[in-house]
Amino acid sequence: MPTLPGVHLKDEITKISQRLKELGHGRHLDKAVWDKVELARHPKRPYTLDYIEHMFAGFIELRGDRFFGDDPAIVGGLAAYQGRTLMVIGHQKGRDLNSRTLRNFGMPRPEGYRKAQRLMELADKFGIPVLTLIDTPGAFPGIAAEERGQGGAIAKTLVCMARLNVPTVSVIIGEGGSGGALALALTDRVLMLENSVYSVISPEACAAILWKDSGEAHLAAQTLGMTSADLSRLEVVDEVLPEPRGGAHRDHSAAARILKDALEEQLRELETMNPRVRRKERFDKFRRMGVWKENGLTLF
């Protein structure tokens, strides 16, 4: 058992007060961070089906999890892409009232994750590379979704992605919200559009919990470090893709072109690798995720 470190509460309180003063409560808000959160959630931002429409000559949507339902919050199917086939799977939000309801605001239920697994296994069977597009506030928090095993569905999607023998690329195109987003992002390469965000928790919920005040969402967003620049620095994403001037919503087809070019480059590289090596490197990549101290040294 480790021994207790010599901690004295009084000393601590003094230290805290001092650091609070030093940091001015961390309230030097960088407006650019919240701007990005808003761009990532922009109602006109291109969604998965918009990218699919612009990027691929042919697309066959495949539906259903073969167990319980078809979740419109995750779409997937086979796409023709530069003389090869791709399996494209992504979160899908709606743009008007009806389609938002239909797509459940992009919040998948277990059926969505199970459909994703099914399609990935189909892709793996036929040697088809997998592209995932990530854009969700998070997995849907509902009673029935829990009863049908929301947690287990996400976990099995993660293992499924780890196991694939084909090249895999994910792109965070909007909101990368928590486990519901990560479930589709355990890939050889993780790309991120410039104005997307990716976070363990929404800034609003984080503020409510840690600051006991959901009004502190801007501060939480900044502290969590959820922008593409933050995640690039933490080496969580492999490449940040610049967006058309003003943001992807200004020009869907230009955004799709950027994504398409980046994807082609990544796939070219991944396809030349020995599949066993590629798979092993995927495990190594996620094994390295995290920062901790060992024998006093901080390890990345």
Binding site: P5, R19, V200, L210, F286
Partner: protein, 318 residues
């Protein structure tokens, strides 16, 4: 996510030895001795009180058999995270309160003489939240299990991700899932025990990926916490929402085991899984079956597993 779950706060390390308390199950007044003498369950109604990591190790590991692995890992502060207080201060407080170095301990142990890799989580350490150290310790546990071929037992208790490590805490879900997959490709048996509460990222990664999932009676097990769901659907949740018994009904867990039987059941299950491993590793069809093959399942199984340890990795699943 951490702290979202509505559960009674774990009492501080030092002061739980004075005074009786009323059982939430049957309202009987229980002394600390009543509880600790009964694996922290109510002798009257069986209500399961929360157990900390030390108590859990005492419950499960044969006396003196625990030897910690990766105990020298400590949280860093990669985001220099500061909400109402700095993250390092919260860590220090948790260390002080629990006497633990993190929310997860990993070690070798023996259970009824069976060698295992034992992992226990402690909800008292920042809500059992999963940060980089928890993820890395879990990875080391699976490495040790693969090295030794000892089965892996993981006792879960968690409120979710360690928000103070931002995206890195989220990625521990991916990391631990990769670890489980590598373990499965050997394969080494992996049993999880879900205790009250196990929620958030832990549920959406290793906790639900075990070969056999055991839950303690009455434990709250869910991905999204009850409060988040109530806020989303604007409805009060049913009383049994997310409880082990409800999870059982909905097909999400294998078996509910009362804590007083937990150790024996775990050993029985591991022995049964090991029996299979032993047969799978031994190429029966190539050699005369010796009579000894059929007796003393568990011990012999273990010996055979060790003998075959480095010889017969299975090919990865497709």
């Amino acid at each position: 996510m951490a702290q979202k779950v509505s559960v009674d706060i774990s009492r501080r390390g030092g002061n739980n030895s004075n005074g009786a308390e009323s059982c939430p199950g049957c309202k009987e007044l229980l002394s600390p001795a009543d509880l600790s003498g009964n694996a922290m369950t109510c002798p009257h109604c069986g209500h399961h009180f929360r157990m900390n990591a030390r108590q859990r190790i005492e419950l499960l590991a044969d006396s003196g058999s625990w030897s910690e692995i990766a105990g020298n890992l400590r949280s860093a502060d990669p985001l220099e995270f500061f909400d109402l207080r700095p993250y390092p201060d919260r860590i220090e407080e948790a260390e002080y309160d629990t006497g633990l170095s993190e929310a997860m301990l990993v070690g070798r142990a023996r259970m009824n003489k069976m060698d295992v890799i034992l992992v226990v989580m402690d909800f008292g350490f920042m809500g059992g939240s999963m940060g980089s150290v928890v993820g890395e310790r879990f990875w080391r546990a699976t490495e040790e299990a693969m090295e030794t071929r000892f089965p892996l037992v993981v006792v879960c208790a968690s409120g979710g991700a360690r928000m103070q490590e931002g995206i890195l805490s989220l990625l521990q879900m991916a990391k631990t899932s990769c670890a489980v997959e590598l373990l499965a490709e050997v394969p080494v048996p992996f049993v999880s025990v879900l205790t009250n509460p196990t929620t958030g990222g832990v549920v959406a990664s290793f906790a639900t990926l075990a070969d056999v999932i055991i839950a303690e009676p009455g434990a709250l097990l869910c991905f999204s916490g009850p409060r988040v769901i109530e806020q989303t659907i604007k409805e009060k949740l049913p009383e049994d929402f997310g409880l082990a018994e409800s999870n059982m009904k909905h097909g999400q867990i294998d078996i509910i085991v009362p804590r007083t039987e937990l150790k024996d059941r775990l050993v029985q299950i591991l022995g049964l899984l090991e029996g299979g491993v032993a047969c799978a590793l031994q190429p029966l069809w190539e050699e005369e079956k010796s009579p000894s093959r059929r007796g003393g399942a568990i011990t012999q199984a273990l010996n055979r597993i060790k003998a075959f340890a480095n010889s017969s990795r299975r090919s990865p699943k497709r």
